[in-house]
């Protein structure tokens, strides 16, 4: 998914990038972010043939106004989502002219951002990362964000997905190969792949997930796994919102 940010405030661009990265991780998406510091720079590069899925724009910027830039892009055929970020509500009505999907009132929190992204759902829903595998002779696709854990069994794997368990003959490496470089999945020994989004707690030897299941950490890997869990918590803590 491609996202463009246009804001003259570097801190705001950074904040929005943080939110997008968190959203990317939690939803197992792949987001390509481009950022511009003014509407003029945006128009110069993206006016014609822009294929971005969502465009976040600050309304008050020096130079060409954001609304004029949005209208120009809309006129040139851009049909992605517009999300306006502003400190006032006075452009609410004007934003209908470009069929804006969201309106973020600064300073906005993670929940506001999530609501805005939910309104743009059609833009990113089809781009969610999924695991593809054969289960009971049927080609199956499961969204990565819905998978709590994957465990190996004698021949193949068991996928714990929300309320059900899917069985497959694919090896664990088949699923590992489908993960992006940055993902919330953690390999525990050679038998488990755990989605840390569902992490409830852990101690020196076990990891507990939100459904109450416990996964034992192999003795040789305990140091690495504890470090990885700490890293994940630091990552979550460092996120804005």
């Amino acid at each position: 998914m491609q996202v463009i940010l246009c804001d003259d405030c570097a801190d705001e661009r950074e904040r929005l990038t943080d939110f997008l990265r968190r959203f990317e991780r939690e939803n197992a998406l792949e987001i390509d972010i481009k950022a511009y510091g003014s509407a003029d720079a945006l128009l110069q590069r993206e006016r014609v043939g822009c294929v971005a899925d969502i465009l976040f724009m600050d309304i008050y910027m020096s130079g060409t106004s954001c609304m004029d830039a949005a209208k120009a892009m809309y006129a040139q055929g851009y049909r992605g989502s517009f999300v306006f970020c502003t400190t006032s509500r006075e452009h609410g009505v004007e934003s209908y002219a470009v069929e804006a999907d969201g309106y973020l009132l600064k300073p906005y929190a993670w929940e506001d951002f999530e609501r805005a992204m939910a309104r743009c759902r059609p833009r990113w829903e089809r781009k969610l990362r999924a695991f593809s595998f054969v289960s009971e002779r049927i080609h199956t696709t499961v969204l990565q964000r819905d998978v709590r854990s994957i465990e190996t069994k004698r021949r193949g794997c068991l996928l714990h997905v929300r309320e059900r368990v899917l069985e497959t003959r694919e090896p664990l490496s088949h699923f590992v190969a489908q993960l992006p470089a940055e993902s919330s999945f953690l390999s525990v020994g050679q038998s488990y792949l755990v989605n840390l989004t569902y992490l409830e707690a852990w101690d020196d030897e076990t990891i507990r997930l939100t459904d109450g299941s416990r996964i034992f950490m192999p003795v040789r890997e305990q140091t690495r796994l504890r470090r990885a869990l700490n890293e994940y918590q630091w990552l979550r803590l460092g996120e804005r919102g």
Binding site: A201, R226, N230, E231, Q233, W234, G238
Partner: protein
């Protein structure tokens, strides 16, 4: 066969001891373990091949072989200096400590060989086997000494201390070298010579053990005084917080009183139907923003955060605090104060070297189960160190900081974890403490 034993005996000069030389610095290697071992083996193999080649020449003498063996010491010193990222003084200290051990084993083997029947094996063979057996006996004791005494002392970051102590074992090494014969393995060692070696070994061991004890005591004293200082600061901060709270209650009482007066005036204006006057009066009463008094529930952390927030804002630093630390936490208040105080002080210090418009400090804290996660990040000029090097600008760039080493000690005490990162012009310390 004799050549093989000669090869073995010269290998024993280096191999078992090299492991102990690297052990205290295993976290500070410039190369990976594999590459370090490979380069050591390659360099020593070249040296050994040189030795064998010299031994086969017609002009070879025992004195020349001794010089070549002494050259091995230089080679080993060079290897450790290249491989280990630690100051030279620390390397030299461990090196100086190991040499008398190695010489003791050699002398003892040469002494014992006199009691074995002659002609059983070539002289180098008997010595080699005895050295192997003695090394196998001594190494576990040394390993224990290293783990329990030497390695913890290596954490002392005071370069000045190491600069002054490394000559002690080195002096013993030099004395040992002066009395090294070139034909030990052939003629054996007498009792007097052996006792001399034992005396050198005991001397270096005792002096180093005394030194270690002194170093640990000095470090404990520094830590205790630092913690006492932080506890004093904490009490002072809590008093400040209490005074601020009292002032806040007083100003709220005054505001309530004033509000009644303002409402009376506004009602009178409204009764007269003078909307413009009401509007202008209300505009004059626009509220002023006040900093929140409570940044987190934990009293000690709240006091510290409020204090440093006020200090930072006074220096034009934008502070963002998002801390969710519960009132009850099974972590000593003084320990939390040392951690948070040191990190915030460092963050504030680093911001002083940054242009005013880019000054920022961000504090995030949250508990997860019985763990407290904390992140303190700040703007910096990009020159701070990005590893657990415990450096501080408060002294000088090349000197270590006590602050971060105190933080590290507390992290260890609470079975926690921490990391220091520097990305461009942002410096971040992330840590985790596990409640007791």
């Amino acid at each position: 066969m004799e050549r093989l034993f000669l090869f073995l005996t010269i290998a024993l000069d280096a191999y078992p001891w090299l492991f102990l030389q690297y052990l205290p610095f295993r976290g500070q290697l410039r190369l990976s373990y594999g590459k370090t071992i490979l380069s050591c083996v390659a360099a020593l193999l070249l040296w050994q091949l040189g030795f064998v080649w010299i031994a086969r020449q017609s002009w070879c003498t025992l004195n020349l072989m001794l010089v070549w063996r002494v050259f091995q010491l230089v080679l080993l010193g060079l290897l450790t200096w290249l491989h280990i990222r630690s100051p030279f003084a620390k390397n030299a200290f461990v090196f100086g400590l190991l040499f008398p051990c190695q010489m003791l084993v050699l002398s003892l083997a040469c002494f014992l060989m006199r009691f074995l029947p002659a002609g059983l094996l070539p002289p180098y063979g008997v010595v080699s086997l005895l050295r192997l057996a003695l090394s196998a006996l001594l190494l576990p004791c040394l390993l224990r000494l290293w783990r329990q005494v030497l390695i913890p002392v290596m954490d002392v970051q005071e370069d000045g201390v190491w600069r002054s102590v490394w000559p002690i074992p080195t002096a013993f090494t030099l004395v040992g070298l002066c009395y090294t014969g070139n034909d030990f393995e052939l003629r054996g060692v007498g009792l007097a010579e052996l006792l001399g070696r034992v005396a050198i070994f005991a001397g270096v061991l005792l002096s180093c053990l005394t030194l270690f004890r002194m170093l640990r005591q000095a470090e404990a004293r520094i830590r205790a005084s630092e913690e006492a200082e932080k506890s004093r600061l904490l009490l002072k901060l809590q008093a400040e917080q209490y005074q601020a709270l009292t002032r806040h209650i007083e100003s709220a009482r005054r505001a309530r009183h004033d509000l009644r007066q303002h409402l009376t005036v506004i009602s009178a204006m409204a009764a007269q139907g003078d909307c413009e006057a009401v509007q202008s009066y209300a505009a004059r009463l626009s509220p002023t923003e006040a900093a929140p008094l409570t940044l987190c529930e934990h009293p000690a952390c709240n006091a510290l955060l409020s204090h440093y927030q006020a200090l930072a804002q006074g220096e034009g630093v934008a502070v963002e605090v998002r801390a969710s630390i519960p009132r009850e936490l099974r972590i000593e208040e003084s320990d939390l104060a040392v951690v948070l105080g040191n990190l915030l002080e460092n963050a504030l210090e680093a911001n002083r070297y940054v242009p005013r418009e880019r000054r920022r400090i961000s504090v995030r804290a949250r508990t997860q189960g019985d763990r407290l996660f904390l992140i303190v990040s700040n703007s910096c000029d990009g020159r701070e160190r990005s590893e657990k090097g415990k450096r501080s600008r408060k002294r000088a760039y090349h000197e270590p900081g006590v602050g971060l080493s105190s933080v590290e000690a507390i992290v260890k005490r609470y079975h926690g974890d921490w990391k220091i990162e520097q990305q461009d012009e942002r410096f971040t310390v992330s840590l985790m403490l596990k409640e007791n």
